[in-house]
Every structure is written in C-alpha cells, then in structure tokens.
Amino acid sequence: MLLALLLMLVFGFFDQASSQQQRFPKPDFETGYVLPDTSTPEPRSAAMEYVDLLVLLLVLGFTTWLVFRKRSRRYILWTSVFTLIYFGFYRQGCICSIGAVQNLALAIFSNTYTISITVLAFLIVPLIVSLFAGRIFCASACPLGAIQDLVVFKPIKIAPWLQKTLGMFPFIYLGLAILFAATGTDFIICRYDPYVGIFRMSAEFHMVMLGAGFLLLGAFVARPYCRFVCPYGALLSITSRFSGHHLSITPGECINCKLCSDSCPFDAIDKPTEDNEIRPNSRNSGNFIIYALLIPVFVFATAWAVSSSHSYLAKAHPDVYLANLLIANPAMINDTESLDVQTFLASGRTMDQLVEDASAVQLKFKRGSWFLGGFIGLVIAITLLNQVIFRRRTVYEANRSACFSCGRCMDYCPVGKPAHPWFADNPVMENKL
C-alpha cells in the first residue's frame, strides 16, 4: 500500500514534469483519496473481423451451392435477409467490399496507411468468386443489394440505350473514388452510401433524403444503386462477364417460353436474336475495327478534359480548399466566424506552408486526373464497342455482366416443374428436361 502510494507520488511528479500545462499542482490529499482511473472501454476485438470474413465466405459458399445445385430463389432470398441483418443492421455496414477498394487505393499510395488482411480479403474474395461463378456476392452477400432486393415492388423496363448510358456511371464513380482515396482526400463511396444511414438509424438530413429517395426509386427501378451507381458492381460486371460458370435460367433445355424475361426486374436476360438483326459479317467487323481504332482518341480526349479540370476536383481536399479561399479573399484572415481560418491561424502553420501542402495535393490530383480521364474514355469507348459486337443467341440467356444471380428466373422457368393441372395432358414440359 505504502509502495503503491510512493509509486503514485513518483509518477505524479513525472507527470507534472512532463506537462507544460500544469498551472495548478496536483494536491496532496490528506484524507486518503485515491485518484480514479480514466476509463477506456476496449474497441471491438480484432478477432471479430475474422468472424466477419468467415461469415462472408460461408454466405458466398452457401449461395453458390444454392444457385448451382439447389436452384432455389427462396433460399437465396433468406440468405440475403440474413446478410442484411448481420452485415447491415448488426455490423452497421462497415467494413464492406464496396468501400474496401478505397482502403486498397489509400494503402498503395499513402506512406503511413496499411490495409488489414481482412479488408483486403473482403475486396478480393467476391471478385475471385465472380470469376468462377458470376455475381454471387450481389445475390446475397451484400447488405446494400439485399435491402434493395426486398423493396422491388413494381419494376419497370428501362430502355436499353438508357441502361447502357447510365451503366457507365459506376465506372466513373469507381475512378473518382480511387482518385479521392489515393490522394488521401476522402472516401466518397462511404460518404455517399445511401443505405448506411438506414442500417445505423442515424444520418445527416441530406443522406436520409438520398436513402429514402433510392428506396422509393428502387420500388420501380429495381436495385438502382447496384445497376447505376455501385463501383464494386462495375468491377464485378467485368469479372463476371468472363466467369467460368454462371447461373443458368433453365435446369434443362430452354423452350423459349419468354417467362424468365418477364421475371427479371433488372433487364438482365438477353433474348434470342431475331433474323432481321443479323448483319453481314464484313460490316460487323468493319464497324468493330473503326470503333477499336477510336479507343485512343476517346482516351486522350477525356484524359485531357478531366486533367484540365483537376483543380476543381482538388478543392475537395481541405488544404487546397483553405489555400484557395485565403488566396481569393485575403480579408478572410480577419473573419472570426470562420472556424477553419481561425484554427489555421492559431495552429502556427504559415501561409507558405499551407500553399506548399496544397500544391503537393494539387500535383497528385493533376497526375491522377490524367489516369481518371483516360479510364473514363476507355469506358465510353468500350461501351460503344460493345454495341457493334453481335452475338447470335437461340435461347434466353442471363447476361453475365448484369445478372445478379438473384434466382428469380429459375423460379419462373417452367421446364422440369410439374405442369399445372390445366395443362396436365401437355407433355412438352416434362420431355424437355
């Protein structure tokens, strides 16, 4: 006891010596008062991240089995409800595969930030799965997908040209997110995630409006975030396009009954090609070559356009913003209302230092925006190129890039199912299996 007191006194002395702010000395208590401890509640243990990863792997594995063997929409739906509860409402949306791409970008370009193995696995594993089995992640392992899938009420068909045009946005968003993360500016995917506020039951007003808006829109335009915003979906659509296996609509042979095409709320089922669509091969390849040759033109044009507007993008960084503000309005120095300016003045950083830091950030943006612009050009060019690729189809097939493997079409496909009593004497369905 005496030793403890002595130790405390000694440490107390060191504390006083090390702190310059100690205006009033620590009192010598005479009543045996013991200093309370400052409580420090522990964060969630690191091991729990591995539990999350295990849950992700289990969900992905189980859903793959459901899509390929069990072929059950209902089970896929319930798995996605589980994901919504676990990753959405219980884990409150962090960490997720969609945002993880920013962690990787920051880890690669920052000197101090490192990525944890679980975050990397969250990013890579669903992509690898999609390379073999399609967008299993979207079907049931993504809480954002799950919440949207539950509100699909009366989906409308969207014109193909509009789909293709809006479908370019996820790639642009991905490029922007990587640029902002790599420059250490912001994680825009997390910041503008419309559903995370619902998982947490708390968000800023404009994000609440955005979330509610997306949910309402999602009743008619099925899974709007997944199709026209999600940057991770953009990556998955590439890997899934070349996947080794993919959900098949029918368990047997397609009878071209068209039922599946009506069942898909995402317009992700390609119809059989009609005879009048077929053009001579020479014309096809001619167009293909022209569009392919145009790729560098697009790449350079957009790269130049985006890089010349890099200073607008750079303004998202607080240093650049503050430097711009103070250079444009030097009188702001006297503005006692502006917290940012006053804190900067009090911090002891000089204007030269600020300008130097801001120009370093701007240089990063200048370099990065060349890549961003080139990437956007490539996306536009490939979208155009895809228009002239003609593929002959004789049956209804899931579009491998766009299909979320949700399994609705499997439920609708009549092949192999017992016929309705009305058609009990029609043997065609049973025979095709």
Binding site: E30, P43, L127, I128, R191
Partner: protein, 185 residues
C-alpha cells in the same frame, strides 16, 4: 459455327486467366502494404482545438466523442475553468453558472479546498466547452476522446473530414486511446 464458338471460348478463357492474374497480382502487391494491426479512429488531444464539431458531425447522435478526465493532471480546484462559466457573478454551482450545456460534469467535494470533477458519459455530447475552459484557465486535464464502446469505426470518420486541426487520426487497435499524461505528448 463451331469454329466461331471455339474462338469465343478461347477469348473468354484468356480474359478470365488475365483477370485472375491481375487480381492475384493486385493482391500480391497489396500484401506488401498489409499492416499487423487494424486501425481505429482517435482524437489527438494535443492537436484538438475544442471547436465543437465533434458534437455535431459524428454519424451518431449523440456523438461517440466524449470528454474524459485525466485525473493525475487535474488541480482539483474549487474555481474550475472547465466547470464554471467565466465571468459568473455568484460563485455557486447553480445551473446558470455551469459551463456544460447538459450538466454532464459532476463535482464532488473531497477535502478542503479540493473538488473532484467527473464526466457523466451518458449526458456528455462532446461539445468541448469544458475542454476549452479547462485548457484556458486550468491544467488541460479535461479532453476529448473517441469512446470505442460507442464508435462504429466507420471506414472514413465523418468528423475527421471537418476537423479544422486534423486532430482525428487513425491509431493502432492495440493502443486505442491517447489519454493526456499517460502518453508522451
């Protein structure tokens, strides 16, 4: 027809292989950037300027940022700059004289002339009014910390984005707090 199909299959296999290789390469490169520890958000109390944005910009309401008390630094004063409003007329503990807008700072008599100041965490909103007062008139023993039992550990902290003094930083999970006096500042 069959020749065309084989060509398509060939292209697909090639694309799949190159995408697979690209992913493995990316993962391989990322492994060089893997840290042994995970990150959590914390406030560096030595950088904090008590601007009050922690109370308003956290994704949670009330904020996961709370005031903590580093007791070894406290002077246990009767006239506490973190507890009482400056320029109050009567020196008593009536509500109008208290700095804390939610009465989250509790004062307890220890012995003449010393008082202990304790934060009632359920009431604290992290507005840093007491922190400001304590730093201005006292020892600076009251300071803000992100409480990890409350913090969601968002991928990007919403407060970090608006913090004017860049005081919100990523710290290793193994050392999740920066309590004044117990770290080398």
């Amino acid at each position: 027809m069959s020749k065309e199909l084989t060509r398509r299959e060939f292209i697909k296999v090639c694309a799949r292989a190159s995408l697979g290789l690209a992913l493995t390469g990316l993962a391989g490169y990322a492994i060089t950037r893997i840290g042994t520890d995970q990150w959590v958000w914390q406030i560096d109390p030595y950088k904090c300027t008590s601007c009050g944005r922690c109370a308003t910009h956290c994704v949670q309401n009330p904020s996961a940022v709370k005031c903590v008390h580093a007791y070894p630094l406290c002077g246990y004063c009767d006239l506490c700059g973190g507890y009482l409003k400056p320029g109050h007329l009567d020196r008593n503990t009536a509500a109008e004289n208290q700095l804390c807008p939610t009465a989250a700072l509790e004062r307890r008599y220890i012995e003449e002339p010393y008082y202990e100041y304790k934060i009632i965490e359920e009431l604290c909103i992290g507005c840093a009014r007491c922190v400001e007062g304590c730093a201005a008139f006292g020892n600076g023993s009251l300071h803000l910390q992100i409480r990890h039992n409350l913090c969601h550990n968002c991928n990007q902290c919403a407060i970090a984005r608006v913090c004017p003094s860049n005081a919100i930083i990523r710290v290793p999970l193994s050392e999740p707090y920066i309590i004044k006096g117990s770290h080398e500042g």
